[in-house]
């Protein structure tokens, strides 16, 4: 029997989340190696390169294309072409501004932003001065999460966002930024952060400045979960919304269903999984690397192979 040819575009491999997303896909593909044959391309977070990659997949004549759209519009024309050739298209972890696709598998980043913000607003009793740590302006995940968070904060008139900073999902940048903000502001009551490493940086900046820790939001990467657990005894509180990397494996399953002619739900948008003080223990893995992300379908062996310490 003919195997299905599938093109998978790795949108980025510059941070551990994007790497793990691709690994989840690869692991699933390995399980179905008798039915699918995958050709990989790599877009390096460049929308135009992604367009070219998809064009080349069409040229090669694949049966299905799985991609994480870097821009909400860039791939529309080329996906139309794919559709015209009867190629199935699955969007993974990010959507586009048209319905020229067959399935979407994701968690909403706006909801992600809201989830952390709601927790923080509640924790502060709807009142206080906070700072926000964003990823990179111009990248939709970062902007969408902030949009969601801002909506919540705007609804709480007594919460004042005193500074919004881009720290590139980066520990070091976040630490520098927060150090500076601490020097400039005698009162900071909470930190809304959209990335685990940035929250780590913020914690270290607070400690370096010998200021008591305040409620902060984080994300589900293992390094952060470990630190959070260690600080719980000192009264540190946090919450970790998650964009699970297992979406990668889910995308392949959906693609196979489509190719086999099964009907699938077009927009599969999962709820944002939340790690809270209550279930922290279930996700935190002291025996695994700091870099790994807790919401995964990878086996421990696979995680160890991907992120060696």
């Amino acid at each position: 029997q003919e195997k299905f040819d599938i093109g998978y575009d790795i949108y980025f491999s510059g941070n551990s989340w994007s790497v793990q997303l691709a690994k989840e896909f690869e692991a699933e593909a390995e399980k179905h190696k008798d039915t699918v044959e995958v050709a990989y391309t790599e877009s390096e977070l460049k929308a135009d390169k992604q367009v070219s990659n998809i064009e080349d997949m069409i040229t090669k004549g694949v049966d299905a294309i799985i991609l994480t759209p870097i821009s909400p519009t860039a791939v529309i024309p080329v996906l139309k072409k794919a559709e015209a050739k009867g190629i199935k298209v699955v969007l993974l972890a990010s959507s586009i501004k048209s319905d020229d696709y067959d399935a979407l598998v994701t968690v909403d980043d706006v909801d992600f932003g809201k989830a952390g913000a709601e927790w923080l607003a509640e924790k502060l009793g709807g009142k206080g001065k906070i700072i926000a740590l964003n990823g990179i302006s111009g990248i939709s995940a970062s902007d969408d999460r902030w949009t969601g968070a801002k909506e919540i904060f705007d609804a709480h008139p007594d919460i004042e966002v005193i500074s919004v900073v881009d720290a590139g999902w980066d520990y070091a940048k976040a630490k520098v930024a927060v150090s500076n903000l601490l020097a400039a502001n005698p009162e900071i009551d909470g930190v809304w952060s959209q990335g685990g490493s940035m929250t780590l940086g913020a914690i270290d900046a607070f400690e370096a400045a010998q200021r008591p820790l305040v409620p902060m939001t984080g994300e589900d990467n293992n390094g952060y979960l470990k630190r959070w657990a260690a600080l719980e005894a000192d009264g540190f509180t946090s919450v970790a919304p998650s964009k699970p990397t297992w979406l990668g494996s889910e995308a392949l399953l959906v693609a196979i269903d489509l190719l086999e002619g099964k009907t699938v739900e077009k927009n599969k948008i999962y709820d944002v999984p939340m790690i809270t003080a209550d279930n922290l223990g279930e996700f935190k893995r002291d025996d695994l690397s700091d870099s790994f992300w807790a919401n995964t379908r990878l086996s421990d062996e696979q995680v160890r192979a991907t992120f060696q310490d």
């Binding site: 491999s13 929308a47 040229t59 821009s71 860039a74 302006s137 111009g138 970062s142």
Partner: protein, 329 residues
């Protein structure tokens, strides 16, 4: 009539060039890029049946247009012995302007974006000329400012560019597509201007030795305005094409094009020190850059090795073509 006298006994190291004039000696600089792209075409066509399909060739020319335009502008700056590292930022700015204004202004968005590119080029030219700031640094400064402005205008990718533009530019799937024709026109026009007009000769002369050129009556301000202005406009044109290709604006999309543009110009035989090189060579070098990615994808080369492979090809090309060209003031 004074009689002829021997000035040099017998020039030993030098023989007359194969062709006449500096024009021909410039044309020869295109050969390596021509060879490289020919090699890639033959290799890929041999190994992949889809390579020569109409749709793939159309795709290639669509990709050639933006990198070709921006590399062409960069080459003009390099001909004059300057360098422009702001082209990528200008491309992003142009995509932002298109995304924000094409809905309301329609076609007028295009001259607006081109004008913005021109202004950026003029700013760089003025810094280089009046403030005597090294072009590399001045263009980096322009790039930073332009990037900031772009991010103020359009903080994240988005906005919308009308689909009609897309149909117009990329709609047809045939070999002689609009992007290919536009690339050819741009390159031929610039090649003619550079080689057969006084302006072109002045740009080469200025790049060759600015002091000597000044002494021969060239105004450095005029040269700077022309080359940086052109480079800004061509970068903006590339940005317009890109915004149509992605149907939106993106404040970061141009970044990687700066080094691509410089690489294409250099691989195309343009000397960093100025005065030498030809638009034709740049055309083939830009083509080679486009072909490399296509080749990687069509031949299924492992993605993680693509970057190393590209770096090594780059080094190999440098070793083959640039050997002995190290700058020494």
């Amino acid at each position: 009539m004074p009689r002829a006298f021997p000035v040099s006994g017998r020039p030993k190291e030098w023989r007359p060039p194969m062709f006449e004039g500096s024009l021909r000696s410039n044309l020869l600089t295109s050969l390596p890029a021509l060879a490289l792209s020919a090699l890639l075409i033959i290799l890929t066509a041999y190994m992949s049946p889809n390579f020569l399909s109409d749709s793939n060739l159309t795709n290639l020319s669509s990709r050639l247009l933006p990198i070709g335009l921006v590399a062409l502008g960069e080459a003009m700056v390099l001909f004059a012995g300057r360098i422009d590292l702001s082209v990528g930022a200008i491309m992003s700015l142009a995509t932002a302007i298109m995304a924000l204004t094409s809905a309301s202004l329609g076609w007028l968005a295009i001259p607006l974006a081109l004008g913005a590119g021109l202004v950026c080029g003029v700013v760089t030219a003025c810094g280089v000329n009046f403030l005597r700031i090294n072009p590399l640094v001045m263009s980096l400064a322009t790039a930073a400012i332009v990037k900031g402005v772009t991010m103020l205008l359009l903080p994240s990718p988005g906005g919308e560019v009308d689909y009609a533009f897309y149909d117009m530019l990329f709609g047809a799937e045939r070999l002689l597509s609009a992007p290919l024709i536009m690339s050819l026109i741009a390159f031929i026009v610039i090649a003619v201007v550079m080689n057969w007009t006084r302006l072109g000769r002045s740009i080469y002369a200025f790049g060759s030795d600015p002091r000597a050129a000044f002494a021969n009556g060239i105004s450095s301000l005029k040269i700077d305005l022309v080359v940086f202005g052109m480079s800004g406009m061509l970068a903006a044109a590339a940005g317009i094409v890109l915004s149509i290709r992605i149907l939106s604006g993106d404040p970061l999309i141009g970044e990687s094009y700066t080094l691509d543009a410089v690489s294409a110009a250099i691989l195309g035989g343009v000397a960093l020190q100025g005065g030498r090189g030809n638009a034709i060579g740049v055309f083939f070098a830009a083509l080679a850059l486009v072909l490399i990615n296509n080749t990687f994808n069509l031949l299924d080369i492992d993605t993680s090795f693509q970057n190393i492979a590209k770096g090594l090809i780059f080094i190999l090309a440098l070793v083959l073509f640039m050997r002995g060209k190290a700058e020494e003031h």
